[in-house]
Symmetry: C2
Subunit: 216 residues, 2 copies
C-alpha cells in the first residue's frame, strides 16, 4: 500500500466523496489520457495539460528535451500537484442549488524525477503508446537513437494522493420532490469514432484489427 492520506489530500468538502484506496486511484488515473501538472515558478502558479501513463506507483510524462517546463521540472526536482478529472454525467436536480455533475477525479502531490535509465524510458513510451491505443506499439516504427535522445521522461511517485467521486441520481431537499420538475442524469461518455485514414497514405494498408472496435 503506497497511498498516504495527509492533510493536503484529505477531502474536507463533501468528505463522503473522498476515496483513498490505491486500486480506485489507479483506475481513475488509467482511464485518463491527460492530466494537468501544476508547479510553482518565481512564486507563481503554472500548469500544463499533458499526456501520461502509470506503471506501478509511478506516473510518467514525456516531452521534448527542448521543452521549457520539462527542463524546469527536471532541474528543480519541482514539487507538483497533478490532477485528472472525468465528467461522467450532468446531475439535473429539481433545484438549481443541487445541480451537480457525476465525476471521478484524482489530485496528487509529488516531485519530478528525471528518468535516465534507458530501459525505463523505453518501457514508459511503450506503455504510453499502448495506453493511447492498445496494440499500437507493436505495429509502428520504433524510435531511432536520435529520437530517444530528443525525448525527456519524468516520473512522479504516486504516494500522496486522493480521489473524489460522485455517482448516481440527484439529491434534492425533501420538499422539492413534490415539484413537477423532471430530474435525473444525462450521462456523458467519451466515444471513439470511426478511424479516419491519413490522406497521405502511399500504400494500401488495411485497418488494423485493434482499431476495429471503433464505430461511427
Amino acid at each position: 500500500m503506497t497511498i498516504k492520506k495527509t492533510d493536503k489530500t484529505s477531502i474536507t468538502r463533501l468528505s463522503k466523496r473522498g476515496v483513498y484506496d490505491e486500486a480506485s486511484i489507479y483506475a481513475i488515473l488509467d482511464d485518463a489520457l491527460v492530466c494537468t501538472i501544476a508547479f510553482v515558478q518565481d512564486n507563481e502558479p503554472f500548469q500544463i495539460p499533458t499526456g501520461f501513463c502509470r506503471i506501478g506507483d509511478q506516473l510518467y510524462i514525456h516531452g521534448s528535451v527542448g521543452s521549457h517546463y520539462m527542463r524546469h521540472l527536471a532541474e528543480h526536482k519541482s514539487k507538483v500537484c497533478i490532477s485528472v478529472m472525468h465528467i461522467d454525467g450532468l446531475v439535473l436536480a429539481r433545484s438549481a442549488f443541487h445541480h451537480s455533475v457525476n465525476y471521478r477525479s484524482v489530485v496528487m502531490f509529488s516531485e519530478a524525477v528525471r528518468v535516465d535509465d534507458k530501459e525505463e524510458i523505453y518501457q514508459s513510451l511503450e506503455v504510453f503508446t499502448n495506453k493511447m491505443q492498445p496494440g499500437r506499439w507493436a505495429d509502428v516504427r520504433k524510435p531511432t537513437d536520435n529520437e530517444w535522445k530528443a525525448t525527456m521522461v519524468l516520473k512522479f511517485k504516486i504516494e500522496e494522493a486522493s480521489a473524489k467521486v460522485r455517482t448516481g441520481a440527484p439529491k434534492d431537499d425533501e420538499e422539492d420532490y413534490n415539484l413537477p420538475i423532471w430530474a435525473g442524469v444525462v450521462p456523458l461518455q467519451v466515444e471513439r469514432k470511426a478511424p479516419i485514414v491519413d490522406p497521405e497514405m502511399k500504400l494500401s494498408v488495411p485497418l488494423p484489427e485493434y482499431l476495429k472496435y471503433a464505430r461511427d
Copy 2:
C-alpha cells in the same frame, strides 16, 4: 480586444500551434464544462478541477462559502493559472515518435476576485446552469435566500491567456510514408447519452424538450 500576449502565455514549444485571438480562446473555454485552477499556498502548488462559465471577459466559478480553497483564493486575491483541455482525436503516425493527439487547450493567468454584487452572482449561476444544460434554469426551483448566502462566486479576468491547438492528420518523417503501417486519426467525442430519470420521481413529468437531443 482584451487578450494580452506575454512571456508567460507565448507558446515556445511547437509555436505554430499557438492561438492568441479572443474568439478562439473564448470558444475553447465555452466548450468545456470544467477547468483546473492552480494556485500557490505555502510556496507549494495546488490545483482543483471545477466547473465554470464565462461572461464577457470574465471566467466565473462558484462553490460553498465553507470551501477551504474558495476562501483561500478570495481572501488572498490569489494569483491563479487556469487551464482547459479538449482531446479531439488520437493521432496515429507511422512512427512511435510522431504519435500525438488533436487537442484544443487554453492556459490563462489571472487573479481571484470575490463577486459581492447580488445581480452578478445571480447572472453567473444562471449562465452556469444553462451552459451545463441549455434551457434548464427556466425549469428549476430557483435558489432561496439561504442557498444564495451559502454560495461563493469568484471571477477571474481573461486577459493574459493563450490557446494551443492541433488538428488534422499525422505528420511523419518523409521516408516513413513508404512503410506498410496504417496511419490516421481516431476522433474522440464527448457524447450525451439518453437521460436517466431519477428513480425518486414522485410525479409523472415528461422529459423536457431541451433534453430530447440526447440519444443512446
